[in-house]
Amino acid sequence: MTTSHTRGNSHGATRRSPIAWRGLGLLALVVVLAATVLAGLALGAREIAPGTVVAALLGELPADHYDGLVVVTERLPRVLLGLLVGACLGASGAIMQAVTRNPLADPGILGVEAGAAAAVVIGIVIVGVHEPRGYFWFALAGAGVAAIAVALISRATTSASREISLVIAGAAVAALLMSLVTLLTVRDEAVYSSLRSWSVGSLVGRGSVIGELLPFAVAGLLLVLTLGRSLDALALGDDVAAGLGVRVGRTRLWAAGIGVLLAATATAAVGPVAFVGLVAAHLARLIVGTEHRWVLPYSMLTGALLLTAADVAARLVPGRGELEVGIMTAVVGTPFFVYLARRRVRSSS
């Protein structure tokens, strides 16, 4: 409790009051998000004037207007999917960082998305599932198994600090599962190219899954909003949390379950996209401080912003065709991960 007081005081002394800061941050986020969404609708292989985009969204264009059709049928679903998946990943990252007390946690880094992707590929290749709602259940099972495996492995280690062993365990499990994905998909080029998005996350041509996965995503995101207080209590340490009347084990399990659910939804929709959750949660904390009541909703916004922006950037990279968004987030996210790792291990040693 004392730490949060001093933090509040120092904020008040050096910056604006936390509430004004949060408000400003929210305003800035919404403005940037709106600009990104507009860019996501306007930019790409065919550049469309912002005025036309707005007109198309308002339904003022004739039904056979080509640019209008591109905006409404191609780009709008894709941007919406990016927003939804980004929000899921951001919230999932924030939850995982809170549950593991590890600033390096992220559904991609911890192998949860790899588990979901591997299970979906098994579902497609072996069981013959072909609709996104079916993918979701496989993704959920795979993500759950991977999360439990990583948690157990990192719990069993004593050789390094738990933070580091969690990351290494995640990397090992992810390597195993992604090699499973490769083994199942690489056999011939046709299968490989059609299942490629399960190796690298991509928003291309996936706008149609949004309707099928929306219920799961919305349910998960609403559940996240109920977690704020209990995660704040957990952040004070297990003993204090128990003293405040929180059932520590059950709360942690429940929160982790929601984090896994969100990661599974995101992976079922677009394939594994790492580092969005990691960066989103840190960005959210930068704006609102450490209280999870605020961090969780803000990390949904920052996650949505990051994924949409990465998608726009991936479209604009010069060259033929488009880049998968998962590559873009890895190129941008890994330097941030390295920065965190460098800072973190120094302070813990």
Binding site: A160, R187, R320, A330
Partner: protein, 356 residues
Amino acid sequence: MTVHTEHTGHIQRDAIRATAARIRARARTTRRRHAIVICGFLLIALGLLVAQLYLTGDALIPARDVVPAALGQRDGLADYVVRRTNLPRGLTALLGGALFGLSGALAQRLFGNPLATPDIIGISSGAGAGAMIVIAGFGATGIGVQGGAMLGALAVSLIVYGLSWRGGVQSYRLILIGIGVGACASAIVTFVVTRLDEVSTQRAMRWLIGSLNGANQSGVALLGATLVIGLALVVMIRRPLSDLALGDELAVGIGVRVPIVRLAALLLATLLAAVVTSVTGPIAFVALVAGPIATRLLRVPDAPIVAALVGATLLGATDIAAQTLPLISPVPTGAITALFGAPVLIALLVRKKATV
């Protein structure tokens, strides 16, 4: 009284003699174990090469033609399949595996951590990224690709080492940062692969997962030369490197030039891994697994040569499995190594005391 002392002296002398005999016997057992293990692995490696010749390849060659074809006494299909495809592939697997094992054992020794191998800390991915960049950017082929891979590996190893330097390198910080930098390098490879349209997916995949497809004689020659030079250098650097395990101050005290030994070992481990990666693409986990297996077999902490042999047999066997296993074959060799490598990584992580 005197009788008594004399008696005690006898007993002491006997005890000393017995101890000496025990030490000698133990040394003999160790030597014998060494010899048995090395001979065993050489036999297995030979067996794998023969199996490669007989079991793999696109066309079936009559069994009686295989050995003559390998020796260059046949022509046509048999010559093409056995001498130009299977033989280089088998040799590439064995030599490449040996180099991976050597490089991994060296890095594990250098950082004093079994997890700090070139494939885990991103050096192999860096070599892949370097190769991919020179292929895409400069249209390089052959030796240019090798150069690009080496530059990429060197760049990554210096970046990782530099970023984890804080008045000394803490091995777990190095591993964590290496995982991050390696992920970035793999993303760059994927990035470039997606940009390249004229390269077929299969060939481009090689720089992501690693495959022995398309091994040829010049690759074998390169790997063979590297292995000979590498073994000599590793043997040279072995003594000062094991002195480093005493701690830097003590090592300086007995006359080891610590920074030079460190740098030399790092460069050697990096370049050995880079050369293989430039031929096969980044095949993960062989370098990680070989050292600990060799240590277990010999029950000594430092066994670079046996680690090389273990690496050779591992990659040789994996490559045959990648080509012949029912249901999954043919797959890139690098896609299979994770199946045994990741569990070993987990086991190394879980084990109580992390020793090399």
